[in-house]
Symmetry: C2
């Protein structure tokens, strides 16, 4: 593979693409979304076959993928996302005249995107990372995930067709196939300016280290998953044992447990532990084992379970009914809070439909657990308003441990919108300051630039005096349109 | 030193301080600014003595320091900087009800700040890094710069007094004295969540590497300086040789050249090279050599000059009149563009009042120089509007190489306001996506958090339904107040 050629083409495309208007970039993005939907009769069975995910789920994922691309198109058409700021000159100021300063967000340059096996569409070739990078004005070099090569290729063709139809340089999007070494080479190329990744901790951390060892370090946005603890309080749980067991099992086993927001840890007060465990067991027994993404993932799932089965601290509420080559049989074990606190291994993610139920005796134990928790994408609290009201310190502490704090339902199901934060403290991601879902995902691929005393006709439209784009701007400290 | 105690106290303070209202944090910041001004009769001579910078300069720096603290106070009082976003629930949505999601910016935790020797006030103990970290709600552990220990101690006392007067926990600010090892220990502590540094590339890069080698990597905002190229075009330079030479020499020798925005590189068209060099020489000879910050810096300055003096590619317009133990005698050398392009050493920063004049023959040479340039804090273009108009490709390329692009004047003099970007592509900083000057500096120390279906009375005021703070918020995709 000629990496220099790939990146020189991307860099050349970048110097043009960064200046394409929001409206034109939006048209380009809509072409991708339309193209995906036009291919749905081929794409849905193909992605389903390659991922073992049911067609219904892939249909929903295709809708989500097209939807999030169109959300970025809308953001670009509106235009205010560039955060334009203007401080006017004051030639009379003493002791020194004040210059005219104008600042906005400008794209970083070619971005390397790695797809995720568990979302063959929404977090893959035309997924959120690609959509947000393209929206920002960055060309994308996409490293296809080997778990769904044909799906990736087809989606890549849809994007490349949209590039051509939009009269953009071909280097705006490059589809690259290959293994780990290919990914490493892409990250190490001097013209790569950022990396987006969704996958395992081991994978994400190795890319992060590689990027920081470059002679020019570059940012890596690795979304590496977490155990997404649910904390159940006495009153709420006591009054809703069956319905909460149902909600929990639904979230735990959704997509064979292969979600980064899958709840792999649940804290339950001892008084209701037995009743809740029984209710969960009953629900679990009604769940048919579903095929996992590929045999390697199934093997890893059962290997993780075997390691846990050797731990005497665990009591098994439900053992995996079988250790299948491809299907995930759900499993659930109980552990006392005291034992859980002894070993960080008990908060390691098991990718699949396994959860650990931590039985706590009192608030002090729960607080100790909260203090011990690693960074998480999400934490969910199940409590009546009355019992939550007295737990401000706990909620305050838990806010430090996650990117999203839920007070209802289950953590799976990540809304694509303006207020979503999908990203949390390390090790759930490599950078808690950004989100990989929702409109703010675009902020990962930009940096501010300031122009001082730039002649009006050279200024980008977003910064011109008359506000020709009609966007929100901060002018002399005031937000105006 | 008991590092655990320092950080446990900071962490405890953090869990309180993060929830202090913007108004109360503003009052705290104003107390610091007032306190600095109240101490000015002690502080100005002290800082001047310790830094060798004239009292006039320190007086201005004190005003700037207090001014930027008050700018953050104003930002907090207004309150919209937290970027509140609300997406309302839709229980009727199919196939799944839409939850209520609310997102805003929350502080990261204890921040380690390193002061700069060249700004004993504005980039030191109560400088921009400390001010923006405290404004965000992060406690600061300040590692005093050994070049101005007494100034640092006194300013530290002013901050600690403001902490007490504001009834804040003492751990909100800690003043730490020590050497390199102390700084390393601070960065390595598990409770440290971010680092801010202003200084040399070597210093900043080593902190960056250390922070990334932690078991939990943390962000490092290292502002490491650059050569801040000025590019002069034919018509503009030809018509203004004397005045531009004066502006250039003024900027080059300001503060004995000890500014991160000091112009150490100037590109001049060959047709005017001789005339401009003569004019610069004349100006330089009128500049009295000024004492540098300390002997170590003077020694490094003359050592860098000696290395350059051995390079046969350079022609010296002005050699340093003497190699003093403390004073910086300015120097200027010429080099042909062809030779400059051969060796990246020619764009390494010489900290002090030395500049390299690169003589270019034509636009192609200039474009090649631009392509070769490392990341810079600033780039300055001196051109008539007519000659700039034809150089869009060059300007587009130069935008990729800097954080601030100027079209008038000189790069020294960094405005503190809303539109400033002080930070550029690597190696000028470790993170081009943030600024260390101006209100946006606060963004370095925060991350977004989303609350899903949180009961109203538990929500922070910024996210409550009635908008009790009266701030700008994005509600269901629309910016409203």
């Amino acid at each position: 593979m000629n990496y220099d050629q790939i990146f020189q083409s991307a860099q050349e495309a970048f110097l043009h693409f960064k200046n394409v208007s929001g409206k034109d970039k939006a048209t380009f993005l809509r072409r991708i979304a339309d193209g995906l939907e036009a291919e749905k009769h081929t794409l849905i069975p193909l992605a389903s076959e390659e991922s073992n995910l049911p067609e219904g789920r892939i249909t929903g994922e295709l809708g989500r993928t097209a939807g999030q691309i169109r959300l970025f198109a809308k953001l670009l058409e509106e235009g205010s996302w560039v955060e334009a700021v203007i401080d006017h000159a004051d030639p009379e100021r003493t002791p020194a005249p004040k210059p005219d300063l104008r600042r906005f967000l400008t794209p970083l340059g070619p971005v390397v995107v790695f797809g995720a096996s568990n979302f063959p569409l929404a977090f893959s070739t035309a997924g959120g990372d690609t959509a947000s990078a393209l929206a920002s004005g960055c060309p994308v070099i996409y490293k296809a995930h080997p778990a769904h090569p044909e799906t990736s290729k087809l989606v890549g063709q849809v994007i490349s067709k949209a590039v051509i139809d939009s009269n953009l340089p071909l280097g705006v999007f490059t589809h690259v196939e290959g293994g780990i070494e290919t990914g490493q080479k892409l990250i190490q190329h001097p013209l790569a300016k950022a990396v987006a990744f969704t996958g395992s901790f081991t994978g994400g951390k190795s890319l992060f280290d590689l990027a920081n060892q470059r002679s020019e370090p570059i940012p890596v946005f690795a979304e590496m998953g977490s155990v997404n603890p649910i904390i159940a309080f006495k009153e709420k749980l006591g009054a809703n044992i069956e319905s909460l067991a149902k909600a929990f099992v639904g979230s735990l086993t959704l997509g064979a447990g292969q979600f980064c927001t899958n709840p792999g840890l649940i804290m339950v007060p001892s008084i209701h532990a037995e009743a809740f465990a029984s209710a969960v067991k009953k629900e679990l027994q009604e769940i048919a084992a579903a095929p996992m993404l590929h045999e390697g993932i199934a093997e890893a799932y059962y290997k993780s379970l075997s390691i846990l089965e050797s731990r005497k601290e665990l009591k098994w509420v439900q053992v995996a009914a079988a250790k299948d080559l491809i299907k995930a049989y759900p499993a659930l074990a109980k552990i006392k809070a005291n034992d859980w606190l002894e070993d960080d291994h008990f908060q390691q993610e098991v990718f699949g439909s396994f959860a650990l139920m931590v039985v706590y005796e009192n608030f002090n134990e729960l607080f100790a657990i909260a203090q011990r928790l690693h960074g998480q994408l999400t934490i969910t609290l199940w409590g009546e308003n009355g019992e939550l009201a007295k737990k401000e310190d706990l909620i305050n502490l838990l806010s430090e441990k996650c990117g999203r704090l839920l007070f209802k339902g289950a953590p799976t199901g990540v809304e694509v919108g303006h207020a979503m934060q999908h990203g949390g403290p390390y090790p759930s991601t490599t950078d808690s300051r950004f989100t990989s879902v929702g409109v703010h995902a675009i902020k990962r691929f930009v940096r501010p630039i300031a122009y001082q005393d730039m002649p009006q006709d050279l200024l980008p439209d977003a910064l011109k005096e008359g506000n020709p784009l009609g966007i929100w701007r901060t002018v002399d400290g005031e937000l105006v349109k």
